[in-house]
């Protein structure tokens, strides 16, 4: 099996989507001549032309708003917002325009656009360049939210997101960009809304997405040494998320831990827990424990940031707590 980097998987998905559909365009700051701040669109301008890979001024609100207008007029724009922290500037376009257009216009239109943006810490980028804000978007009816954990799912989910008729917020963990993994020679498109079981286990279900999937896997290895078999689900899509898969796993293990890099309080994990505390209540044999970031901005110092980010050790402790 060939190896592929996460960033290259994004690049390939963009290229294949643009080759497959001439209405796909890419728009954002430094996406064209520079090939993207992180290099996600490298080489695409040469291949598809500057008309389809559009460098913009530093005007996030207008970029996202223009994507809505372009999507209503026949294009499939893929917007890049350089850091998820800057999505603070596109909330109106995404929430009041993109998310609502279909519903609010009585089903007359779809808004096939994707907003790609990297979240996450680990780079010492500090409080305004590291946030995980996906819970905001997941709370907004009309938006879909995706967050892949590895190269193959990054490719497959991005293809699905671009093909999707509705607006999708596509979140990439920037600490994963350099990650390399084996992938099938033919990369499949992966439907939105489906979780993947990455590890089977009977004792506890650990639900994660994005970079936290790897934290969960590391915890599972450690737990296996203690005789605890954890089942790991990679959520992949956050909105919609695969409620049935989580429920099935819970029905098997009767214990639940949810892990993500975002701040724990009012984060994505809260919804998963809340659903399971309702529809999965009868299956529960212990408290549902979340592992997320503490309630503070992402700090700059390496030492603080390491203490801040969810660790395998904290996941192990969470599992022990629900098994206790």
């Amino acid at each position: 099996m060939p190896e592929l980097r996460y960033l290259k998987a994004i690049n390939l998905a963009l290229a294949d989507a643009m080759a497959a559909d001439p209405s796909v365009i890419l728009i954002g700051e430094d996406v064209s001549e520079a090939g993207g701040a992180f290099g996600a669109s490298r080489g695409l301008r040469e291949r598809f032309g500057a008309e389809r890979i559009v460098d913009t001024p530093i005007s996030e609100a207008a970029i996202a708003g223009a994507a809505v207008g372009a999507a209503l007029s026949g294009l499939r724009p893929v917007v890049e917002i350089m850091f998820m922290d800057f999505t603070t500037l596109v909330m109106d376009a995404m929430v009041n325009q993109a998310a609502k257009a279909r519903f609010m216009f009585g089903g007359q239109s779809s808004v096939p656009m994707v907003l790609r943006t990297p979240h996450g810490g680990g780079l010492g980028a500090g409080p305004q360049h590291s946030q995980c804000l996906e819970a905001w978007f997941a709370h907004v009816p009309g938006l879909k939210v995706v967050c892949p954990s590895d190269p193959a799912s990054a490719y497959g989910l991005l293809r699905a997101a671009i093909a999707d008729p509705d607006p999708v917020v596509f979140v990439e963990n920037k600490a994963l960009y350099a990650m390399k993994a084996e992938v099938p020679a033919e990369l499949p498109i992966i439907p939105l809304g489906q979780a993947a079981t990455l590890r089977e286990g009977r004792d506890v279900s650990i639900i994660a997405y994005g970079a936290a999937v790897h934290t969960a896997l590391a915890a599972a290895s450690q737990l296996a040494g203690e005789g605890v078999e954890a089942e790991i689900l990679d959520l992949r899509s956050i909105q919609p998320w695969d409620e049935q898969a989580v429920l099935r796993s819970l029905a098997k293990t009767h214990r639940l831990v949810v892990v993500h890099e975002a701040v724990e309080a009012f984060g994505v994990g809260a919804e998963i827990v809340a659903r399971m505390a309702d529809i999965g209540f009868d299956e529960l044999d212990g408290p549902i424990v979340r592992v997320g970031a503490p309630f503070m901005p992402v700090p700059f110092s390496k030492g603080l940031e390491t203490a801040y980010l969810p660790s395998a050790e904290r996941v192990v402790q969470a599992v022990r707590r629900t098994l206790a």
Binding site: R52, A61, A70, F103, P141
Partner: protein, 337 residues
């Protein structure tokens, strides 16, 4: 100016006769529609927030006379005139304002969100300034698709304080997009004169962005139509332009606004600048019989009456159908939901 009145004619707009009488008919259609809405609002029959464009109709009618069906527009909270002039379904319009399932938005949007994609009307908008970026993107799509179409953004003078407007001016100019900016300068943003909100004139801003700007009497439909007819082809061929229309907000910010904050004399003087009166005077001077004008009004009222009655008879929207339209059905094989 002397063509016979065709009662079945569509409102001025796509391929319609641009003669002044046709424009007048369109003015009357907007006016009578909004007066009807005003009365129904007072009766409690029209819910929500209603911002009428009475006194500003000539902007919509004059600009739309220069557009084709392929051209797109993005509108504002004060969007009835734009929508009607662009030729959206009148039945669908009234049904929407009465929150019926037969409404253009199936009763989910109301006055601030009327839209008709089939005529390139990309929606009224409850967010001041937001329509500009939607038109910007639509213009980008037109250019990418080499469709030859233009996108038009309507916005009020108060909107000029929103940063998004400037981002759009810059990008439209930078990329020379086929985008027309139409400012409806009525001197007010809600309850405060825009002279207390803006430190600049749009003309000077336009000069900075090097976007050609013309100022027209927005209450004289002939003047607006003439400017639009001249400028829209420039937009198609050469890139962005701004038309600033000086106009008058007659009914206050929204229905129910008694405008106590306005000078009584100023308010009284508005009738002299009434777009219908101005155009009627021109028509009569040009030899049209007053009766002909009156009969236009009668026909239009009959048309509106029919639309209102149809709306009243229509069912309310269904909750399950609404829920099903939050997302588009996933494409075959994808099962995204």
């Amino acid at each position: 100016m002397t063509e016979p009145l065709d009662p079945s004619a569509a409102p001025a707009g796509h391929n319609a006769d641009h003669g002044l009488l046709a424009l007048y008919r369109s003015l009357v259609l907007i006016r009578c529609s909004e007066e009807r809405l005003s009365a129904m609002f007072a009766d409690g029959e029209v819910p929500g927030f209603i911002h009428l464009s009475i006194g500003q109709e000539a902007v919509s009618v004059g600009v739309m006379a220069a557009l084709t069906a392929q051209d797109t527009i993005a509108s504002t909270h004060r969007g009835h005139g734009h929508a009607i002039a662009k030729g959206l379904s009148l039945d669908g319009f009234f049904a929407e304002l009465l929150a019926r399932d037969t409404g253009l938005c199936r009763g989910r949007g109301g006055s601030m969100h009327v839209a008709d994609m089939s005529v390139g009307m990309l929606g009224a908008n409850g967010i001041v300034g937001a329509g500009l970026s939607i038109a910007l993107g639509s213009a980008l799509a037109h250019r990418t698709q080499k469709s030859g179409a233009v996108a038009v953004a309507f916005f009020g003078d108060g909107a000029l304080a929103e940063g998004l407007v400037h981002e759009c001016l810059n990008m439209a100019a930078l990329w020379r997009l086929p985008m027309l900016f139409v400012c409806e300068n009525n001197g007010w943003g809600e309850f405060l004169p825009t002279s207390k909100q803006l430190s600049f004139a749009l003309k000077d801003l336009a000069a900075a962005y090097r976007i050609p700007h013309v100022l027209v009497d927005g209450n004289d439909v002939a003047a607006v139509a003439e400017a639009a007819a001249r400028i829209v082809p420039e937009v198609r061929a050469d890139g962005p332009r701004i038309i600033e229309c000086m106009t008058t907000r007659v009914r206050g910010h929204f229905e129910g606004d008694a405008q106590k904050y306005r000078d009584a004399d100023d308010l009284a003087a508005l009738s002299e600048r009434d777009p219908l009166r101005i155009t009627a005077t021109q028509l009569v001077r040009a030899g049209i019989a007053e009766d002909a004008l009156a009969s236009i009004t009668e026909e239009v009222k009959a048309r509106i009456h029919a639309a209102v009655e149809a709306a009243r008879a229509a069912p309310g929207p269904g909750f399950e159908a609404a829920l099903a339209d939050v997302y588009t059905a996933a494409p075959a094989g994808m099962e995204a939901r």
